[in-house]
């Protein structure tokens, strides 16, 4: 199926809404440290974007997020599109002003949430149709045009196309159908986009775990010349050995002079591996979600603070962590308040987000100093002190000439 390339309004606008510079490249692996100049803020990559679903980072203020050091956060179009809705957002002057976040924002298309949260009715060429208790006829239809309309009202620096999302473990003709439809929907998104001079529309590469489909998708999608490219359809329970190979293929084929965004990836090991493979941007709910369940992230793994072993442990979560939680509180204290006080969630979220940003900064710094392979080795030793490295990680690093 051939599709026409949309008008070139995208490329002339690129230089205005997104300014991409590679600051350093690792001479061993495919890792790179970049500067992504966006309307509100320049973002240093590799970058992890915390998820602020409904215009809030689960109990933390914009200022607290800013103080931890994040330059870009993610907002969910589905949630904000229903509550408070695009009309109100326009009156509020967009999401930045609404939540008082002065740096950059990326909004997703709403597609993924709808798949994961609502009962799936039907995917047609028109869009994604869902059963909804909130609409008069019981149906909620998210079209590429509607998604872009909402995202235009939200006003984020980066917006995502609506893609036809299928589970990464799915096989068969549906995967190919979704890949082709994603490209057609991209064209519709590009046509519907009203603000290309101040909002960057990223496309999303689909194709499941099929290398050929991925290849075909990339071939077509790069013709649309969007300011940035996302790799979608992964981090959904697929086998890790296949996961990294798909990421690796994509980063090898995608243009070097544009940011690559791997959606839904957030575990520390995945971040390090995929950075070695040439990914620039990530998002994940994991650090903040796991904080709410009482788990603290540390360089050597995780601490499940609800466990009784911590009840009289008077050490901070991580004595090397500069966050306010580690400076003031002990594991014992957090263990004592975890099930009862929402403040415990806030304190753990602050710690986990600090952990994530420290990790990304270390990755970036090592690339800038051309010491990334050594960083990887040190990281792995600390995370797996018994040297029981997961095979997939060994293979992935080896593919970019990093030997553990």
């Amino acid at each position: 199926m051939t599709t026409s390339v949309s008008s070139s309004s995208c490329s002339s606008a690129i230089s205005r809404a997104l300014n991409f510079k590679i600051a350093a490249e690792c001479t061993t692996s495919k890792a790179r440290a970049c500067l992504i100049g966006l309307p509100k803020c320049t973002v240093e990559s590799p970058v992890f974007m915390p998820v602020g679903t409904k215009g809030t980072m689960k109990g933390l203020t914009s200022k607290q997020i800013e103080d931890i050091g994040f330059q870009i956060i993610l907002g969910n179009t589905y949630h904000l599109g229903t509550n408070p809705g695009p009309e109100l957002m326009e009156k509020a002057n967009g999401l930045h002003d609404f939540m008082n976040w002065k740096r950059s924002i990326l909004t997703d298309s709403g597609g993924y949430q709808m798949v994961s949260l609502l009962e799936l009715s039907e995917v047609t060429e028109k869009g994604v149709q869902f059963a909804s208790p909130y609409s008069d006829d019981g149906i909620l239809l998210l079209t590429p045009e509607k998604s872009i309309e909402i995202q235009n009202a939200l006003g984020a620096d980066i917006i995502m196309q609506l893609d036809d999302v299928v589970s990464s473990t799915l096989v068969g003709p549906r995967v190919e159908e979704a890949m082709h439809r994603t490209i057609r929907w991209l064209d519709r998104c590009i046509s519907a986009h009203k603000n290309s001079h101040r909002q960057n529309l990223f496309c999303i590469v689909q194709g499941g775990l099929d290398m050929d489909l991925r290849r075909k998708c990339i071939e077509e999608i790069v013709k649309r010349d969007t300011p940035g490219i996302a790799i979608g359809g992964l981090s959904g329970g697929e086998e890790k050995q296949v996961f990294w190979k798909v990421v690796d293929l994509c980063t090898s084929l995608l243009p070097k002079d544009k940011p690559r965004y791997l959606m839904g990836v957030g575990y520390a090991l995945d971040l390090v591996v995929c950075s070695a493979l040439g990914v620039d941007m990530y998002d994940c709910v994991y650090p903040t979600r796991t904080a709410r369940f009482g788990t603290a992230l540390v360089p050597w793994g995780q601490l499940r603070l609800k466990q009784s072993q911590f009840s009289a442990d008077f050490n901070p979560i991580d004595k090397n962590c500069p966050c306010l939680t580690c400076k003031r509180y002990t594991r014992a204290y957090l263990n004592s308040i975890i099930k009862q006080e929402t403040v415990a969630c806030h304190l753990l979220s602050i710690h986990n987000l600090t952990y994530q940003i420290q990790l990304m900064r270390s990755i970036r710094k090592s690339i800038l100093e051309n010491k990334f392979p050594q960083f990887v080795k040190d990281f792995m030793k600390e995370m797996f002190p018994d040297a029981n490295y997961p095979q997939w990680a060994i293979d992935a690093f080896a593919s970019v000439k990093i030997e553990l």
Partner: protein
């Protein structure tokens, strides 16, 4: 100190001074509900904040053993080692189950159930905590308890006080850095109130807490009949603290009845009900009470939200942020309020957070309510200093 009522005073501990009337910030297990320490620091009087921790929230967790093992005192354990704090034996958060108290012990209700605490148990626990101040163990009854039971509560509480004082004596230095407050009981009986006050006054205590005056335990008219009668029998030169009286109108009446210190359950209660406190800024400005209140506000002539502005100007009021009228209100909750929430966020955003059950809604409301409460007490002290008490009172009628 001015005498037995409407008193201006100051509490000194170490290098810090708290001017009274004032309030202690309520915390549960060391947590100010919704607020992380960095947000607490945005409050004006942050360094001299006194934390109030009720015994019930720390008795089990962390508990005596853990605190002893930790060895650095409760303030440090809860992450507020630079703040002063006060431990109350009583707690107004749950139902007061005084029927379970006995001659030798009081029942304290924790998450897992009931623990009997004797005066000695309590004193040992306080030793491990090392607060600046603590209330003595007390047996509190509501106003409708029988005469016999009320008398017993006065006797028992005096006995607990003597046991606590005895412990302090015997232990030498271990409790030297702490101060003990007596608990004045007596339910709804004038005679018993006077007896409890006079007897407590004979003991070497730092201050007096007035127990049994919450609206659950006593009706409001009785409260303000008994309170002044009681405080008149307490020494002028020692502070008086009351729990569970928190609305501005009642605070004013309580100050007239000779009270110096309060706790902060009221701002927390408002927050849990999605309410924001609104001090009448324009009216306060016109009394010329505080320099910061004489600032000229921008957009005084802006005619939008006219009704909201008028409400805010002349009388104390509450805003319910759940209400639809805030959905598209892109102005701060209270114009002119310098709290973190009002300087950084809009009513519309806070409304959105509340409707969507987001934790940040509670956070922003709590900061605002504590901030306004602090300003309220600033006004109280300023009006006492400048002889504008009656004028201030008129702004906060119930």
């Amino acid at each position: 100190m001015a005498g037995s009522c409407c008193r201006l005073g100051a509490l000194q501990f170490g290098s810090k001074v708290v001017e009274t009337p004032a309030f202690f910030i309520y915390n549960r297990s060391g947590v100010v509900p919704h607020i992380t320490p960095d947000l607490l620091e945005t409050l004006n009087n942050a360094p001299s904040i006194v934390m109030h921790t009720p015994l019930a929230s720390i008795l089990e967790e962390p508990g005596l053993e853990k605190l002893r093992k930790y060895g650095k005192g409760l303030a440090s354990f809860i992450g507020y080692k630079d703040n002063s704090f006060y431990i109350s034996a009583s707690d107004y958060q749950g139902e007061a189950m005084y029927q379970y108290n006995e001659n030798k012990s009081v029942s304290v209700w924790t998450k897992t159930g009931r623990t009997k605490v004797t005066a000695d148990d309590y004193s040992k626990f306080i030793e491990a905590c090392q607060p600046n101040w603590y209330q003595c163990l007390c047996d509190t009854v509501p106003a409708n308890a029988t005469t016999k039971r009320t008398r017993k509560s006065v006797d028992r509480t005096l006995e607990f006080l003597d046991q606590c004082l005895n412990y302090r004596q015997k232990q030498g230095n271990s409790l030297k850095a702490t101060e003990i407050w007596a608990a004045v009981e007596g339910g709804g009986l004038v005679d018993e109130r006077l007896r409890s006050a006079k007897e407590s006054a004979k003991r070497p205590v730092f201050g007096f807490t007035l127990e049994g005056f919450s609206s659950d335990q006593m009706n409001v008219d009785t409260i303000f009949e008994l309170l002044p009668l009681t405080t008149q029998n307490l020494p002028d030169d020692k502070p008086r603290l009351i729990h569970a009286i928190g609305s501005p109108a009642n605070i004013i009446k309580a100050i007239e009845s000779g009270i110096d210190l309060f706790d902060a359950y009221y701002p927390y209660n408002l927050t849990e009900n999605n309410l924001a406190m609104v001090l009448p800024r324009k009216a306060i400005r016109s009394l010329n009470l505080l320099p910061k209140f004489t600032e000229v506000e921008e957009d005084e002539n802006d005619s939008s939200d006219e009704a909201k502005r008028l409400d805010q100007s002349t009388t104390f009021s509450l805003l319910n942020l759940r209400e639809d009228k805030f959905k598209e209100d892109f102005t701060p909750m209270v114009r002119g309020c310098k709290c973190f929430s009002c300087t950084n966020h809009t009513s519309a955003y806070i409304h959105h957070l509340i409707i969507n059950k987001e934790m940040l809604g509670g956070v922003l409301l709590m900061i605002h309510n504590l901030f306004q409460y602090i300003e309220f007490f600033d006004c109280i002290r300023a009006s006492l200093k400048n002889n504008k008490w009656k004028e201030l009172q008129a702004l906060f009628k119930a």
